[in-house]
């Protein structure tokens, strides 16, 4: 048995793999983070919320997997006394619905997924709202009205669906989400839900629905996004 020298001077120098541990540890943390945050969801959003508003016209709020986007600050405020849903355009029977009228309209409930074009998804969201057919029966669009505009109270945001897209199953004008009235960041009192397309088609804070004969590009579509934002496509032209 030999006694090691008190102050060894290793040649070649010893190599303690701390750098490798830091490298692999960073990767492991990343993997654990993906797994954990996919379940918790949205927890990170708050960290960047301030940065988001610093860059203007954006708010990113952590709400169980959702990230909240808007194009104008502040977000519209819902007042049930003054709210009015205007449904007009190329229709036989244009209407202005008060909030009480909206609430009295027959509604359905559904569970669907929500996919954002920026890469995140929220699964199994429960929405309750008005089916397009209910609205169509009410206002009776003319045969030439093959497009539907959704104007947000958040000016100048709006988007358009073809009548055919509007009538897809699971499309609705939602007023409740996950068992409670839509919150302000989610577009209270009413947002368009079309699970087949990316979220930017689902106009929030809907104030006016207009049946049109001509196609028009929506807010993001004039900025390079696809008008037909089918989930699973690149969503730009």
């Amino acid at each position: 048995m030999t006694t090691p020298p008190e102050h060894p001077t290793p040649t070649p120098r010893e190599r303690i793999p701390i750098g490798r541990a830091a490298f692999l540890g960073t990767i492991a943390l990343g993997a654990v983070g993906v797994a954990a945050l996919s379940r918790l969801g949205g927890g990170v959003g708050g960290l960047i919320a301030d940065a988001g508003s610093a860059v203007g016209a954006s708010g990113i709020v952590p709400t169980s997997g959702w990230r909240i986007y808007n194009v104008q600050d502040p977000m519209p405020t819902f007042d049930s006394a003054s709210y009015e849903l205007v449904v007009d355009g190329a229709v036989a029977n244009p209407v202005r619905l008060s909030w009480a009228d909206v609430q009295a309209t027959p509604m359905e409930e559904q569970v669907c997924d929500f996919h954002c074009v920026t890469g995140w998804s929220v699964y199994d969201v429960t929405f309750r709202g008005i089916r397009p057919q209910t609205l169509i029966d009410l206002v009776q669009p003319k045969p030439s009205a093959q497009h539907v505009n959704f104007q947000s109270l958040e000016e100048p945001y709006f988007d358009q669906l073809t009548l055919e897209q509007f009538l897809l199953p699971e499309v609705m004008l939602a007023v409740d989400m996950d068992g409670a009235p839509l919150t302000r960041p989610h577009g209270s009192p009413m947002r368009l839900v079309i699970p087949q397309m990316y979220g930017y088609k689902g106009v929030k804070w809907v104030g006016r629905i207009t049946f049109e004969e001509e196609p028009t590009l929506g807010y993001w579509e004039t900025r390079g996004y696809a008008a037909d934002a089918w989930v699973g496509t690149d969503a730009y032209r």
Partner: protein, 218 residues
């Protein structure tokens, strides 16, 4: 005037041309990805640079970085290999240097002699390389997740991509501070631009490396 430098060139070669090119490629690709990523991320910036252009620049920059590094690794394996070999392990002096705490990070006096890279550079290189792997992994999930939505795993990939970006940016800011502003470390900047650093500065900051070089007659 340090006598040790008598008869030797004033400068000493620290980085090879391939290492300088790799650093430049990383810096340019990083800035391109950061800017286009912000344009894809913040609605306010989305109007400055449209999504189609921002997304393709983001993806092509990431591809160019990988391709460039791969070409360098294949044709000049020693240049990048040296960085990896240095960063993956610390020796006792490195550990002692780190234990010296923040004072030694900014003021080398009394610190154990350091090699080609000091312990802080080794660790930040290792963490940055790890973050790059995380960014490429989560970025790949986001990219493929456009077509295969279950791959997105909720917002996990996006969240971690964001967090890794924030950490990377913080490390880059620290790196920029030490390279451009901090008096004791500023002379290193010359090395990553021209390859050469001041011998006297290197002796004070990377003493063991200079000694080894001089033993080889450099």
């Amino acid at each position: 005037m340090p006598t040790a430098d008598a008869g030797r060139p004033r400068r000493i070669r620290r980085f090879s041309r391939v290492q300088i090119a790799a650093h430049l490629l990383l810096a340019v690709a990083f800035l391109a990805m950061l800017w286009t990523g912000m344009c894809l991320y913040f609605p306010g910036l989305a109007e400055v640079m449209g999504r189609p252009l921002a997304k393709s620049v983001h993806l092509w920059s990431s591809g160019a970085l990988i391709a460039g590094l791969a070409v360098m690794a294949v044709f000049r394996p020693r240049d990048l290999g040296r960085v990896v070999r240095e960063a993956e392990a610390l020796d006792r002096d490195d550990v002692a240097w780190l234990r010296g705490g923040p004072r030694r990070v900014v003021d080398h006096r009394g610190a154990p002699e350091q090699g080609w890279l000091n312990a802080g550079q080794k660790l930040s290189t290792a963490v940055m390389l790890g973050l790059l792997v995380v960014l490429y992994g989560t970025g790949l999930v986001m990219w493929l997740g456009a077509g295969v939505t279950w791959l997105r795993i909720g917002s996990g990939a996006v969240d971690v991509h964001d967090l890794a970006t924030i950490l990377f940016v913080l490390l880059v800011l620290g790196h920029l501070y030490l390279a451009l502003l901090h008096r004791a470390t500023r002379p290193a900047l010359r090395g990553i631009v021209t390859g050469d650093v001041d011998r006297e500065w290197a002796r004070a900051n990377h003493g063991r490396w200079v000694r080894e070089m001089e033993e080889q007659g450099r």
